[in-house]
């Protein structure tokens, strides 16, 4: 058997979920290095998709389809990749804070992270502070994302940051916040590490952050 990384890139851009899963499996069966599939097959594809989205050549439902394909393919690759090889493709726990029922913005962010190769655990809306902390302990995510769409629920995010400190795990986790009324300044004020104005910049900002951290 042989494999074609170009084909993988192309299939990803086309958002063909099942076909991409097949191709990924075939590549592995042909002894392609998993890291090579990720770095030379999938990631260039998602970069291209991101680019096309920004330029108005592709739109959200298409992008999300590609993200889904990426995520399915990653399910196959992840167990075969070492920590180092995984690179930026870590784990994200995301949810909407207590008292807040706004759903779709957080979902979008989660889906875009899947597109970036992340394993995403979406804990849902209206999540009490302790659920964020517990999920952080349980899943040991690289990034903990919190969404708040109401000025009244925004304070929950700062409270979770404090609870993470109390639980002694604050420095093991990158906290990212977002939602329509949330701002960069507010994120800093409450001691979050990252702020994402929308789903695509959230991914970019996270990538940059980890790239800097490495250097």
């Amino acid at each position: 058997m042989s494999y074609d990384l170009g084909k993988i890139t192309e299939t990803l851009i086309q958002g063909k979920v099942d076909r991409l899963t097949e191709l990924t499996q075939e590549a592995i069966d042909s002894n392609a290095e998993p890291a090579k599939i990720l770095n030379e097959g999938l990631l260039p594809g998602m970069d291209n998709v991101g680019e096309k989205w920004k330029n108005g050549e592709m739109f959200m439902p298409e992008v999300l389809r590609c993200a889904k394909a990426m995520s399915k393919s990653m399910d196959i690759l992840r167990p075969r990749l070492t920590e180092g090889e995984l690179g930026s493709a870590g784990t994200l726990v995301i949810g909407t804070v207590a008292g807040d029922l706004h759903d779709i913005g957080k979902d979008l962010v989660g889906m875009m992270f899947e597109g970036a190769g992340y394993k995403v655990i979406n804990i849902g809306i209206d999540q009490p502070n302790e659920n964020f902390v517990n999920a952080a302990i349980e899943h040991k995510p690289d990034v903990l994302g919190m969404s708040a769409l109401l000025t009244t629920t925004m304070p929950r995010m700062g409270e979770v940051v404090n609870s993470l400190k109390e639980a002694g795990i604050r420095d093991q986790i990158t906290v990212m916040v977002g939602g329509a009324p949330v701002t960069e300044e507010y994120a800093q004020e409450i001691g979050a590490d990252l702020y994402g104005a929308n789903a695509s910049t959230a991914v970019d900002v996270t990538r940059e952050y980890f790239a800097k951290a490495k250097n």
């Binding site: 739109f59 959200m60 439902p61 008292g99 807040d100 979008l108 009490p128 009244t152 304070p155 929308n198």
Partner: protein, 495 residues
Amino acid sequence: MKTRTNYTTYQSPQFSILSEDQKERIYNGMLRTLQYTGANVHHEGARELFKKAGCKVDGVRVYFPSEVITNALATVPPVTEIFPWDGTTEKKITVEKNRSYFGPGPTPPNFIDTETLERRKYLRKDASLVARVCDALPNMGYVQSLGSISDVTNGLADVYEFADMVRNTTTPIMSWSFDKEGCRDIHRMGIAMAGSEEEFRQRPNYIFYGEPISPLVSDYHAIDKCMYCAENRIPQVYSPCAIGGGTVPATHAGQLVVALSESMVGVIASQLISPGTCVIIGGVQSILDMQYSIYSYGAPELSLLSAAHTEVVHHCGLPMYSQSGCTDTKKMDMQSAMEASLSINAAMMSGANFVHDNGYTESGLTGDVFQTVLDDELISMARVIERGVEVNEETMAVEQINNVGPGGHYLYEDHTMNWFREHWRPTLMNRSSYEDWVQQGEKTLKDRVIEKTRDLRDNYEGPRAKVPARADEEIEKILKEAEERIKKEQPAGKK
């Protein structure tokens, strides 16, 4: 022969988006959805109520047979009146077919400062400012705050807003709250302004606004507040913010089916609790922008969807809460004026009962009272078109035409004297000569909007001085008690 048989002298031009068949079909789509898919209702009391009425309940899911829906629609009142608290009638609202009232919108987090023109957080002082400005604007038929107050105790923005607004305008307010407790405090204030509970029931002086969640969910607080309003005969809106392609189908017909279905849950609850209580549906109907992932408030689809929704809602015999005068602009510019005028004209032509969001900018994230002032003028322009052309002997003026004959002019005619004041007069649009315009400082529309808004801000007092001392004291007392309550309670959004 002066009279004519079955003759219409006036006909408001109203466009029609949907055919009778299409309306019927969407209505049936709603019946099918509520029967086979049902809706989630996160409130045990409400589920009990539905169960007793004949609905099937499975966990939080409630399935509504069509007779439960048609029974509810049968008791919806054909007409409801809402009264200014000062006993006057000029600003009275009659919720019935073919009457449209425009107003601002509720709760964005930001506000355009009227002095600096910068975007900042919405503050307590803004609520009374918006109330006063709207009190002075002739085309604002009801009032909302254009923001949620950030500088009061967390969880009491709703109560402070109403307390301040109701004392600064006699135009009926459309209020909102986090939960039933806020709803109750607001209601106590409404009663204080009316004089007594009995008088409130006779002459309700405000409307309450609540939202189900697309797709097909009524969360605890939303339905709890809806039930409270029904029990207390508070006229209410129960309508979602449906996001086309996001929380509802991307096809307009699909969006209408879902939006209608989730709203119907509130209609049924309200009518089961208190048959004949006023309930209005509709809501924000627009699309998710698939490039920028924002909910678009300037999209032409907003106008189309809202107008079509109005027809379907009226087809159900319900009053419609529609939307116009809003924009995705970040700062007042040509885009805001254009998006607002298109949606205002469409809402006017559709004959919706309440039309909100006049003054919403940045896709609902920033309230801008300058936009409301501009919209006020646009609404009055659209009303001219909506008024249509009156055709009778007097207006056809065949007699006068004969008097003047060919050539000549009409400026001396009594007929002209009697009628020319019917022509619309601009307050913001400029028609002066170039020379006059230069002499008066070359002001643009934007300059004039700012000037007019600031003039109202600084010089229009509003009804604050007329508030009865007893009501004033009662409101202050309610605010104090609300502070006490919030210390003990866990309001929505503050768990």
